[in-house]
Symmetry: C2
């Protein structure tokens, strides 16, 4: 079976996922070096951003890289840094015949210069825009475009849209599969946020309770104009928060914090976990988001994934921008 | 291609759907007569209950019915009536070799006597319990078991579970495909109900606005202790309503009426139309359903269908009994 360039970029994007979110402040990149239909090197951005994916893949391939094709999710960097050589330079030196790139780097120090550097050296560098590569880089790309992390709002509700009973009880609405999925999403986030009221009422730990991933617990933030306990950072206004170098922010409630971020149009993705139960007169997941007419509500969200998690359903909606 | 008995019963059940809901007070039955792999007669219960499905199918098959197999969704009736002969008798007289039956008739005048009458005459009568046949007869079966119609609650909501904005605006949450589907469901219902508050606030017509199906508009009911306008019937308490001879009741809101029927455990099916919008601080679809603990909410509803209607999603949940 022959694989296409699109297939190889998809595979590189899957590799890139292993770098998320530990690659920060660097993007999580994936790279494959392929010769005569066989993978001879692969890499993804390591914790803290080094080594780069290309450097890892080149080290694996060794001299066999000569004449091979590299597939990289993001344009190779064109700038030398104190932390290592430019990847475009390394690829050229290794004698790669061809480099297929899933996404141009918005970093102004690269921004086409990586592709140009390769082409000047006679390497066939091709930009092949790849949905899988874009998806794997969305935290980096949102930060480059908007100066803030890619932001996901999670809601776990009954069929009638309640996140808790009227007295606040919410253990448990969704089942163990959905809750484990939620912890996996936490492990792929740099930062996690709740509202001040939720912090005071529930004292949530917001850590990752999956075996082997306990050290992936994200930085904890609270939306408040007041102070926060040790181990928490505060943000007073959704519109002002850059969340340090975080690329992926997860909002876990409550209704006020969720509404504040939606009202500021700071939410890129909705994760809606829905259990097959009815609650009736319970608590709802969103406060006032500032909607003034139903017409304005349409055309903003697109279903991008749906899966069954035990008896619960997860729907994923992405903001159309 | 050879069809199995299950396939033929599925086809008979699909035919039966044509009788819904006009067959009332009779069940909507479907019948096929098959000889050497070919359909030689088919029928479904006509408006008002006559002719029966079997009588139609036999009339089409004529003398060719001798030695053939009949597939009927419901056990053929064993009792003569002023309106026609018993179907078990007619099938026997026509010389059928075999009769395959999807569901025993709970009517005490038949209840096994139809099968017995066929077997006594040397016809191979087999009960082959068929999910499709049961599904096509659910209104009849719920009425036989509980003395009330099969009851469906429809909710059209935003992703966050709102049925309207805070000021009551609900035109439009769902799109034209979902609204047309809702009218098709009305056309398959005998009776339709709203709460008194909804009737006073919205004066809904609750009619079927699909070309060619305008005459299928169901009987209109309102949940109220007061009076109702001309053309409406009243019911004071969900637990007391038998809705005449209706087999299929559709509840279209509002939140109080929906909660009253759920609280009385009178809802068999949920139709949840969900549009890809967020409303925030809007109106919710259910009032207090009397839930006292989250544990009690689980194990009651099972997802039985899910389909995309334009950009909206329809989820169908059935009560587990």
């Amino acid at each position: 079976m022959a694989f296409s360039d699109v297939d190889w970029l998809d595979a590189a994007a899957a590799l890139a996922g292993r770098g998320r979110p530990l690659s920060r402040p660097n993007p999580a990149v994936g790279a494959l070096i392929v010769k005569q239909g066989r993978v001879i090197g692969r890499g993804w951005t390591r914790a803290g951003g080094r080594p780069h994916a290309e450097a890892e893949a080149l080290a694996q391939a060794g001299e066999a890289a000569f004449g091979a094709t590299a597939y990289v999710t993001l344009e190779p960097c064109a700038h030398e840094s104190q932390r290592g050589p430019a990847c475009a330079h390394s690829l050229r030196e290794a004698g790669l015949a061809r480099v297929v790139i899933g996404c141009e780097d918005p970093d102004p120090r690269t921004a086409g210069a990586g592709i140009a550097m390769l082409r000047e050296a006679g390497v066939a560098a091709e930009l092949l825009p790849s949905p899988a590569a874009l998806h794997s880089l969305e935290g980096y790309l949102v930060r480059a475009r908007f100066g803030r992390p890619h932001t996901t709002l999670k809601l776990a509700t009954s069929l009638d849209g309640c996140i808790a009973m009227a007295d606040g009880t919410s253990q448990w609405i969704t089942g163990p599969e959905a809750r484990a999925h939620g912890h996996a999403i936490r492990a792929r986030s740099d930062a996690i946020l709740v509202g001040g009221e939720t912090l005071r009422a529930d004292s949530p730990r917001l850590d990752v309770r999956l075996p082997g991933l306990e050290d992936r617990s994200p930085a904890r933030w609270v939306l408040t104009r007041g102070s926060a306990p040790d181990g928490w950072q505060t943000i007073a206004d959704p519109a002002s928060g850059d969340f340090g170098d975080a690329q992926y922010l997860l909002i876990e409630g409550g209704a006020g914090a969720a509404a504040a971020f939606l009202g500021a149009d700071r939410v890129d993705r909705l994760l809606l976990y829905r259990a097959p139960i009815l609650i009736g007169a319970g608590r709802h997941g969103l406060g006032d988001i500032g909607l003034t007419s139903l017409g304005n509500a349409h055309g903003r969200w697109r279903l991008t994934d749906r899966r069954q998690l035990g008896s619960d359903t997860l729907d994923v909606y992405d903001r159309i921008r």
